[in-house]
Symmetry: C2
Subunit: 155 residues, 2 copies
């Protein structure tokens, strides 16, 4: 309960004026991203995966044997930053790097059995997360519309 006083010397604790930025796509996207991360981590806490890590596992599962740089590129992650990400997933025994027969520069990426197993758990978390989004948005039509608008903006 907030304390109400009759007189103010300097700083009345009224609601702040947010009109200038509340209509701003930039500001709302900044705020939304913070919320998104928190909510994602909540749903994915059981598998202990960050958004990026989940995308990597899902992408490797759909495209086993692809090169690091291919997976990185399609996810919009730079090669240099992808290395420590893969090191981490490999240390957790979720993925492995195999040699490519005719190109000794490349590493082909695969999920390990426990990587597959964790991904299955993660997919259930993802389904819950998506169901949450669906409910907040108000149905599949709104969800598709949102994704379509997001794609127009940043696709």
């Amino acid at each position: 309960m907030e304390k109400i006083s009759e007189t103010y010397d300097t700083c009345p604790s009224e609601a702040l004026n947010v009109s200038a930025i509340s209509q701003s796509v930039a500001h709302q996207l900044r705020r939304a991203h913070g919320q998104f991360i928190q909510r994602f981590l909540h749903y994915f806490s059981v598998v202990n995966l960050r958004p990026t890590e989940y995308s990597v596992l899902a992408m490797i599962a759909e495209n086993p044997g692809r090169k690091q740089s291919e997976i990185a590129a399609v996810l919009g992650i730079q090669r240099a930053n992808f290395v420590s990400l893969m090191n981490d997933l490999e240390e957790r025994c979720l993925t492995e790097r195999r040699n490519v027969p005719n190109d000794r520069r490349s590493h082909a990426l695969y999920l390990t059995p426990s990587g597959e197993s964790l991904l299955n758990e993660a997919r259930r978390a993802e389904a819950d997360f998506e169901a949450d989004c669906l409910e907040r948005l108000g149905g599949m039509r709104a969800r598709d519309q949102f994704l379509a608008l997001l794609a127009r903006l940043f696709g």
Copy 2:
């Protein structure tokens, strides 16, 4: 131009399968945020402001004299992280912290004249950025719809 070869030993460089995550709100939001930051920095390079810094300046301009913690809270930034942000803006002579008469714990935030002046430039950058968004989204109706859906998701 991509090189096309007739035979593959191991790794045909075909398009990757992205079907599993392309329908995912989580994945699309992750990608969108990266694009958003880059595009924002492009438009705001003339004033050298990050999304967070712009929001802070705009919020102080609309609510001069408010306490650090009030501005931080309304922007969803933690007090602890807000300190270095304000230190930075103050070093750039864009904002100032003044004492509050009846509460020696608090700092009241104000824009300096050069802060006001930079904010005016930033508002032009923001207008350009928003115009870009508007065009990509396909008009004000789509823009309002997008903001409404974003608010449903994370408001």
